[in-house]
């Protein structure tokens, strides 16, 4: 029941993801970070098969760094998104990755952008996007309250509304979420929304 969603505001993009690592009926951990920093101004929020998710996003991250080392300048968000789509498309008919991706980034010329990349390599630039069962709730909530050029506070309010909706209406809803933001000052973790803390075992 992985939930990933994101939206674009005024000069920034926000992505939120649940943080449960689940295996069948067991929750391994409650603070698994599914939003990776691709470089200083890009975020990649991924959901899907856990092995594929980590392997593929790390592969994209390393290739984005390699481009920067070789060429001296970072990739734009659009270029990184198209690279990701290309890798997914090539693998699709050989050894497909089951990873859905929301890529958020900030470029000086293009501003903030959000790209929706399906596990079958469908790429689309969007203002708001979501994956998983949570998308049935978060997309509708965002459709209702989203306006273009929202401020950070308004966007966080909207993200919180989505999280509340997911928590109340999704059976086996994930308890914890992480919210990350990317703007002209870079990509960083904005907040956590935790209703269950990871309990460390007490020493006997």
């Amino acid at each position: 029941m992985e939930c990933v969603f994101g939206l674009v505001g005024n000069g920034f993009a926000i992505v939120a993801a649940d943080t449960s690592a689940v295996h069948s009926i067991l929750v391994h951990k409650n603070n698994e970070d599914k939003i990776m920093l691709l470089d200083s101004h890009k975020l990649i929020a991924a959901s899907g098969e856990p092995g594929d998710r980590v392997q593929f996003t790390e592969y994209v991250q390393k290739n984005v760094s390699l481009y920067q080392f070789r060429n001296g300048i970072p990739l734009t968000t659009a270029a990184a998104a198209n690279f990701t789509r290309g890798e997914l498309a090539t693998a699709l008919r050989k050894n497909p990755y089951s990873v859905n991706i929301l890529m958020a980034g900030y470029d000086k010329e293009a501003g903030a952008s959000l790209y929706y990349i399906d596990y079958i390599a469908t790429l689309h630039k969007v203002d708001k996007g979501a994956f998983g069962y949570g998308s049935y709730f978060s997309l509708s909530t965002m459709d209702r309250h989203f306006r273009s050029d929202m401020s950070v506070e308004e966007a966080i309010e909207l993200v919180d509304k989505c999280i509340v909706e997911i928590r109340s209406r999704l059976v086996i809803a994930p308890p914890n979420f992480v919210i990350k933001i990317v703007d002209k000052d870079g990509a960083r973790t904005h907040a956590w929304r935790q209703s269950v803390q990871d309990v460390t075992t007490a020493s006997v």
Partner: protein, 204 residues
């Protein structure tokens, strides 16, 4: 549900008097969920040849990239643009190359040939060309489109009348198909200009 109906699409092309019109819907969906309402299905190969691809969105994007590449290579070698008939044969060959693992798209190709004579054709996902003198259709709404076009079409329409006819045919057909719609995108191409228009239909 068939894999051709995974994303939803509706595409139509019509012949007029020394002009042609090509139109598509704008919905990008994942089965029952709508992801975006501004998906580009029609692409310009050059000023006198357009291709619209219906079917699985990831293959639409991959195939479009391959075709643009092949056309650019042709332009470099031949120092001229491809004729629409030649382009259609190229698309057919590329699709048949993958006969036993095909691209899941059905293209509609429209162009102005020698002496500004309009050319339209469609093909199935393995490249079986279907030339027509009046109109061609493709996508999840194809059956409705056949009916609407047959009723509304008349030969030798001028550009403005052709635009009206193709728009009405498209909008009335996608209204009967839940997987396509959310507006329309129409290109009317004459020897002197390309007119691109966005239609607002029932947004549902």
């Amino acid at each position: 549900m068939s894999i051709f109906e995974y994303n939803g699409s509706a595409v139509v092309a019509m012949v007029g008097k020394n002009c042609f019109a090509i139109a598509s819907d704008r919905r990008l969906g994942v089965q029952l969920q709508t992801i975006a309402t501004d998906f580009q299905r029609i692409s310009k190969i050059h000023d006198r040849v357009f291709i619209a691809l219906s079917g699985l969105a990831t293959d639409v994007q991959t195939l479009y990239q391959r075709l643009v590449f092949r056309h650019k290579l042709y332009q470099l070698r031949e120092e001229r643009d491809m004729k629409p008939e030649t382009f259609a044969s190229l698309v057919s060959a590329i699709l048949y190359e993958k006969r036993f693992g095909p691209y899941l798209c059905q293209p509609v190709i429209a162009g102005l040939g020698e002496d500004d004579k309009p050319f339209i054709c469609t093909m199935d996902s393995i490249g079986a060309k279907e030339l027509a003198k009046d109109f061609v259709v493709s996508g999840t709404a194809s059956e409705s489109l056949y009916g609407a076009c047959e009723a509304m079409y008349k030969p030798d329409m001028e550009a403005e009348e052709l635009f009206e006819t193709i728009s009405q045919a498209l909008l009335s057909s996608v209204d009967r198909d839940c997987l396509s719609g959310w507006g329309g995108h129409v290109y009317v191409v004459t020897p002197t200009e390309i007119k691109e228009r966005i239609l607002k239909g029932r947004m549902d």
